[in-house]
């Protein structure tokens, strides 16, 4: 475990130093996307991996985070950082409202219900004039500063902000893993009835896990809005995004702390690079490549790519 900590610190130092060596803004963008997806996928992993409640609706939290911040900023001139907090509160609210009925469903039925919830959100936001409907919302251009959460001359400040969020997500997930909550979630995944017989209120713990998941996804929504400065329903709460979060965790290692990080470093470059270099047809080709990858991993490494690194250690 000591060795693992050293590797982790080294990895984070490299990530922190990398912007000094980047010449091309696209490389910076790519790393930002990798870290954003890694953060969200860690969030997905808390509910989908540890607790075994596969959610295909997590993009809804991303959307709530992005929209809450945007609406507050545009209509009420509220600072985006406060907007981020408000987004987290609303996302947790949504998680509780969705979780209360849906957690009564078991296995695949929960997954199906979350797809429905995600799609309902898209339909609502596409038709809701107050939040810009299908056109979306443009963020006002403010003076660039950390407080305003806007930078126009360089992507590097965004890079460090998302790196901080990734660290936060790793810290949260580590705390979950090491605490009673983490053990209980694994017990719930393994055998819900057995867990109940040992006094575990499974509804409550699933709800806590879902809320943590919501917060980690929601802050990324805020980040995305401030980074791209334009949001619309299909860029912030698309079903495909939820599926990507699941696939990233799956490739990397479900229910493992660093699984989603490894997954994001493999999956996002694949997705972005094929999209850039293979032009408009790229969309199809990267799908084919990643499907192949998922199939191969499922056959040879069902525990995910993380298992390649962690052999021997715990």
């Amino acid at each position: 475990m000591k060795k693992g900590l050293l590797v982790f610190i080294l990895f984070m130092c490299i990530l922190a130093a990398v912007p000094q060596f980047l010449r091309d803004p696209f490389q910076c963008h790519l790393l930002i996307m990798i870290m954003m997806y890694a953060t969200m996928s860690i969030g997905w992993n808390v509910i989908g991996g540890y607790a075994g409640q596969v959610s295909f609706g997590n993009a809804a939290f991303f959307g709530v985070g992005a929209y809450t911040t945007a609406v507050l900023l545009v209509n009420y001139n509220v600072n985006p950082w406060l907007g981020m907090l408000a987004g987290c509160v609303l996302s947790v609210g949504l998680a509780v409202i969705v979780g209360y009925p849906c957690f009564r469903l078991r296995g695949h039925y929960f997954a199906i219900a979350t797809i429905a919830v995600g799609e309902i959100m898209v339909v609502i936001f596409t038709n809701w004039d107050y939040v810009g409907a299908a056109v979306g919302i443009y963020m006002p251009i403010l003076e660039e500063s950390f407080v305003n959460f806007e930078f126009h001359s360089s992507k590097i400040p965004y890079y460090y902000i998302i790196l901080g969020m990734l660290l936060f997500a790793i810290a949260v997930c580590y705390a979950v893993e090491e605490s009673r909550l983490g053990y209980y979630l694994r017990a719930i995944k393994d055998d819900p009835d057995g867990a109940r017989s040992l006094g575990i209120d499974i509804q409550k713990y699933k709800m806590i896990a879902f809320s943590i998941s919501a917060v980690l996804t929601s802050i990324c929504g805020t980040f995305y809005g401030q980074y791209v400065l334009y949001i619309h329903p299909s860029s912030t709460m698309d079903l495909m995004m939820s599926i990507h979060l699941c696939i990233i965790a799956l490739i990397g290692g479900i229910g493992k702390l660093f699984g989603p990080v490894v997954g994001a470093f493999v999956f996002i470059p694949l997705m972005e690079l094929t999209r850039v270099y293979l032009g408009s047809e790229g969309q199809g080709i990267d799908m084919i490549i990643y499907s192949l990858l998922v199939i191969l991993i499922a056959i040879w490494r069902p525990q995910g790519l993380w298992a390649l690194f962690s052999r021997g250690s715990k």
Partner: protein
């Protein structure tokens, strides 16, 4: 005379048209071992599930330490101090032995360190000390059943409901189980055992409750129950019971 720790009062449970338990009543005192026996399909497991609130009874009352628990849920029952095991072993398959016990220990020890320390103690009692980091699924069936009991024990129950913990074990393992049950009683735990293995349950039970077709047909000390005509009828058929009765009369 201490008050009854558990009272089962006229409990009825139906599944559609099938009455799995009909007006079953019995009560038990602290520190007793109660055997719950009967042929397959007699309703023993159903009654177990009613007491542990995995099912809610359709009629009657279940009272634990003076508090009615008939309509509570399994997790609150466990918190109140009634622990149970399952007929088919339900250990956590992806965890090792220590982690399995910790899931139980977390109930009274929210902090990880405390839960781990407590679990290591429990593992000692159940002779798992040298197997702490083995995967639970790599244990033998008899060890897995013992692990399930250990896990429940870690929740610090006052009553333990053990569902067929001796089924499928060899004679040596049954002996171990019996010793384990007796040790649990010494530690002040009241026990209800559903059991088919008579040589396991009869020597240790204070009282035996016999079910057949969902009804209680007998209750008493093991000796009384063994000689009860209805019980013999239920196990060996009415014909055998009659023949046996005639024989004793002739003698």
């Amino acid at each position: 005379m201490s008050a009854d720790i558990l009272v089962v009062d006229n409990v009825t449970k139906r599944f559609g048209g099938l009455t799995a338990n009909a007006n079953i009543s019995f009560s038990m005192k602290e520190g007793q071992i109660i055997g719950l026996i009967g042929p397959n399909g007699a309703g023993k497991s159903t009654l177990f599930n009613c007491i542990s609130c995995f099912y809610n009874a359709d009629g009657g009352r279940i009272v634990f330490q003076g508090q009615e628990i008939t309509f509570k849920d399994p997790e609150s029952i466990c918190r109140m101090g009634i622990g149970r095991t399952f007929q088919i072993v339900r250990i956590f398959k992806d965890m090792n032995v220590l982690e399995n016990i910790m899931i139980g220990a977390f109930l009274r020890n929210p902090r990880r360190k405390d839960a781990q320390a407590r679990s290591e103690e429990v593992a000692g009692i159940f002779r798992f000390t040298d197997k702490l980091y083995l995967k639970a699924t790599s244990l033998t069936i008899s060890e897995q059943k013992r692990l399930e009991v250990a896990r429940v024990f870690a929740t610090e129950p006052k009553i333990m409901l053990l569902d067929e913990m001796m089924a499928g074990l060899n004679i040596h393992e049954i002996k171990e189980s019996v010793e384990l049950v007796l040790r649990l009683r010494e530690m002040g735990i009241t026990l209800v055992l559903v059991e088919h293995v008579m040589e396991g349950i009869m020597p240790i039970a204070n009282r035996v409750v016999v079910l057949d077709y969902g009804e209680k047909i007998a209750e008493g000390t093991p000796d009384e129950v063994i000689n009860n005509e209805k019980v013999i009828g239920a196990y060996f058929g009415q014909k055998y019971a009659k023949r046996r009765e005639n024989k004793t009369r002739i003698q």
